[in-house]
């Protein structure tokens, strides 16, 4: 029964992922009816972007493969659970950068860490750094160049600490005013 429910949920999630693509295909089909002269330029642009992306996916595959092979999420959980000053910041930043998978999968763990006394600032920093994905770095470099890409990632990692401090301060102030 439980196994069946799991299968139903999985197939529902698989379908959901295709909804957006199907919607865009419908838009594309309606353009072919109302404005057929636009169809070939659109297809041409699509194929051009696709050709640029395919080799990048191969690089991304190898990075994902190595990350999955050598990084264990349980280790991250262990070190994220500490309020250790600079060490805590560094661990939150690194954990955010190397964390894998959907954010929805991380919420239960973050909730658990929060209930165990982990500071909100570290959780915020972790979430901010999830925006820095090393496996997608080749794509960023491909489009924007390495100087821009490296600068952006460093700026984001530094600002994540301020984001953590400010958000925690705002939550504390809000809690104090409502007490």
């Amino acid at each position: 029964m439980k196994e069946n429910m799991g299968k139903i949920k999985k197939s529902k999630n698989t379908l959901t992922k295709w909804y957006f693509f199907i919607l865009v295909l419908l838009i594309y089909s309606s353009i072919s009816v109302f404005s057929p002269d636009k169809i070939m330029p659109i297809l041409h642009s699509f194929i051009q972007i696709l050709i640029q992306i395919i080799p990048v996916f191969l690089i991304v595959y190898f990075i994902l493969f190595l990350t999955n092979l050598y990084i264990n999420n349980k280790i991250l959980q262990k070190y994220m659970g500490e309020d250790a000053g600079i060490k805590g910041w560094i661990i939150s930043i690194i954990a955010g950068i190397i964390s894998m998978g959907s954010i929805y999968a991380w919420y239960p763990l973050l909730k658990d860490l929060q209930s165990k006394g982990v500071k909100n600032k570290f959780i915020v920093t972790f979430l901010y750094n999830r925006g820095i994905k090393l496996q997608w770095l080749p794509v960023l470099i491909l489009y924007f160049g390495w100087v821009y890409s490296i600068t952006l990632l460093i700026v984001m990692a530094i600002l994540s600490v301020f984001q953590g401090i400010i958000t925690e301060k705002l939550i504390s102030l809000s809690n104090a005013s409502s007490d």
Binding site: L23, P41, Y61, L140, V155, L170
Partner: protein
């Protein structure tokens, strides 16, 4: 090295890529549609060249859209090619990956309403700051 672990890592890497393909293909096709049917003047009207208002618009667009970083990079590159400033594109890219309007209900449920609201508001403004600092540094180089 454990063979089972290698197999699992391979399976997870392939699955991670396969999982994003539908949305990535959708975004690529949508970008192709938008770039071909939108007149160049649309972006010029939306992004006026004013540093702050352009970054704010980029920030708002990045906040409401959701997707994998790769799709954000592709969309950002197309905006850049349309003549949108690098500051606005950077605000768009940063907001895309750090502000989560769509997932905020799930975030609020897990970590609290105040956490989700303040984190997202702060990330929204931080995207503009990150954009200004990044472009300032890049221009020095």
């Amino acid at each position: 090295m454990n063979l089972e672990k290698i197999k699992n890592s391979n399976k997870r890497a392939i699955s991670a890529i396969v999982n994003i393909l539908p949305i990535t293909f959708g975004i690529l096709l949508l970008i192709s549609i938008i770039t071909n049917i939108t007149p160049g003047s649309f972006y010029k009207n939306l992004f006026t060249g004013n540093l702050l208002s352009d970054s704010l618009i980029g920030d708002i667009l990045g906040s409401v859209f959701i997707g994998n970083p790769i799709t954000g990079y592709i969309a950002g590159n197309e905006l850049l090619k349309s003549g949108v400033s690098l500051v606005a594109v950077t605000a768009f890219l940063v907001a895309w990956v750090t502000v989560g309007v769509i997932q905020s209900p799930a975030e609020a449920k897990a970590l609290g309403n105040k956490f989700a609201i303040f984190r997202n508001i702060c990330a929204f403004f931080m995207a503009i700051i990150a954009a200004l600092i990044t472009v300032f540094i890049v221009e020095i180089y």
